[in-house]
């Protein structure tokens, strides 16, 4: 017997006495009333992870990005990035080459208010996963209308077929005496620009 057959047979033996009917899963948890101002809540909660969060108009994006990365930074952009920001567009560099960039600027798929989370599904404007991982600074732009209330709203809106990265603040660890330290392997600095409608 193959391992597969043996494991499945063991599962069936183990469940011989078990109640076969499935329990009804109550989804009442999805009915929580949304926060009164999701965008404001997102800004507040993302900042609590020590991300640098600003709200701005679309016209201000190039200046804010330039000020955040500094004049000498080597800036990486994903293909399809929709804002006029100076930088080099990714053409599939190796990880070692990505390590030479100081910052990467991307958009996001959506943002979650109650948890202060950005979600990237790595479509146009967001880039493949390595882009937002190797450079030490990540600037992420999200439109105010992309902020959803909570985790269930985000999961429902996202396509599981796409790879996703959920980002809640800069990389962090609490492995030493449970003291939180921002900045380990992922970007040590995270800037979030929330773009309000004109």
């Amino acid at each position: 017997m193959t391992a597969r057959d043996e494991i499945l047979a063991a599962v069936r033996r183990a469940l011989a006495d078990a109640e076969p009917t499935h329990a009804q899963v109550s989804r009442a948890y999805r009915d929580t009333p949304p926060p009164p101002d999701p965008v404001a809540l997102f800004v507040e909660r993302a900042a609590e992870y020590r991300a640098h969060v600003v709200r701005c108009a679309e016209a201000d994006v190039p200046a804010i990005v330039a000020a955040a990365v500094g004049p000498t930074a080597r800036v990486l952009l994903p293909p399809g990035f929709p804002y006029p920001v100076a930088g080099q567009v990714d053409t599939g560099e190796t990880a070692t080459r990505l390590d030479d960039f100081d910052a990467v600027v991307t958009t996001a798929a959506l943002a979650i208010a109650t948890t202060g989370t950005l979600v990237l599904d790595h479509g146009p404007g967001q880039g493949r996963r390595a882009l937002t991982l190797v450079p030490d600074t990540h600037l992420c732009l999200v439109r105010a209308d992309q902020v959803v209330a909570d985790v269930p709203a985000a999961v429902a809106a996202l396509d599981p077929a796409r790879p996703q990265t959920w980002i809640s603040g800069p990389s962090a660890t609490s492995d030493i005496e449970l003291t939180r330290v921002e900045g380990v392997h992922g970007p040590r600095t995270l800037h979030i620009l929330v773009i309000d409608p004109a």
Partner: protein
Amino acid sequence: MSGTFLGMPPFPVAARAALADTQLRHNLAHATGTIRAKRADVVAEVDNWEELRVAGAAIKDNALRSLDATLLRLEKSLQDNGVTVHWARDAAEACSIVAAVALSHGVDEVVKVKSMATQEIGLNEALAEHGVAAWETDLAELIVQLGDDLPSHILVPAIHRNRAEIREVFRDRMAGAGKAAPDGLSDEPADLAAAARAHLREKFLRAKVAVSGANFAVAETGTLVVVESEGNGRMCLTLPEVLVSVVGIEKVVPTWTDLDVFFQLLPRSSTGERMNPYTSTWSGVAPGDGPREMHVVLLDNGRTRVLADEVGRQTLRCIRCSACLNVCPVYERTGGHAYGSVYPGPIGAILNPLMKGVGDDAQTDSLPYASTLCGACFEVCPVRIDIPEVLVHLRSRVVDAHRPGPPSAEALAMRAAGWVFGRARRLGAVERAAGLLSRALRGRRSLRWLPWPGSLWTGARDLPVPPRRAFRRLRSERR
């Protein structure tokens, strides 16, 4: 490269040594106290926490009740996504599958995401036998690996180490495994984390093969999920060409949208955050993004044995958050090593005997007794595993397993008590004798010491002095 739990003494013996280590007790009290407070805060702000717990338990139960069908669905989804699916009955089989994948790519090293399943099967040691070095990349796992130490907590394996001890390990051992620690390394957590970043970055950038576990595997879509904080997981899941994920068969959840429960329950229970810094989800190979070859090893290694236990099968709901460790008065004092397993604390006290079976090994048989049954673990469990219920059930299984042998002192005492309680007259005689004894002790409330065999009891507890007149006597006088 790291120590072994093999040959660990039973819990009471190991606990005695741990309790004598004042540094360990200080480290643990500080760490568990901190994380308990953080968890309590972020759980309190969720109004529907109990609804989430109930839903989380029901989703896992449903997946487990039809685990054969759920696993077949997962296998099909993974294969449709271009993933090679392997099945492993036990640790040795899982290790040899991973080793074969690594060797087929001609590598002598792999980078690893923190994973309980690969710890459980002793993957690093097995790969070393094939000449493949497995580099742990989670900060705490790195501390344990470099220090030739053992993990003592599910989430924070180096919880027993303080910053000064960690600096020593980095200063003395990093050079032997790659990039050395910088000169003049301080014991500030930020500096220690920076040293780990520099040490591991060269490994991430050159690695060809990565090994991960998975927090969840979605049957419907073939999606795997890794929940982490540092970005080491993202590095391993994204940069290498080949990814092997070792996934316990109980990690499967039916649908993608079921994750909306666990993405709320897990971070708040585990690190006490509203959300962990990074969660990665992927459904097979994504063209132009990440690994080009993916393998999933579906691991049994005792899980079907757990499933067969009617009371114990709820343990397979566990999402490895470690909230039960942080609230446990026993764990807080003994630390994780005393449990002799990669799964310590209350969950380890039930998971190990369930996975390995009872009656064969004194160490495993001692674990269901490593608890006061206070119930704090059940209260915080995000998937409502009734750990005290399973502990009591396993105690009876341990007693049953030893029944043909000579009776233990405890069994003899219970038998004697049964004889006394079996007849009102016998009980009355004992009560009168106890009343006389009580009078002789003149108002003392408790005894701290009894001669043998009573010393077996008073060695760890006080004995309350019996009342001068028993309740039954008082009642009959009132009539």
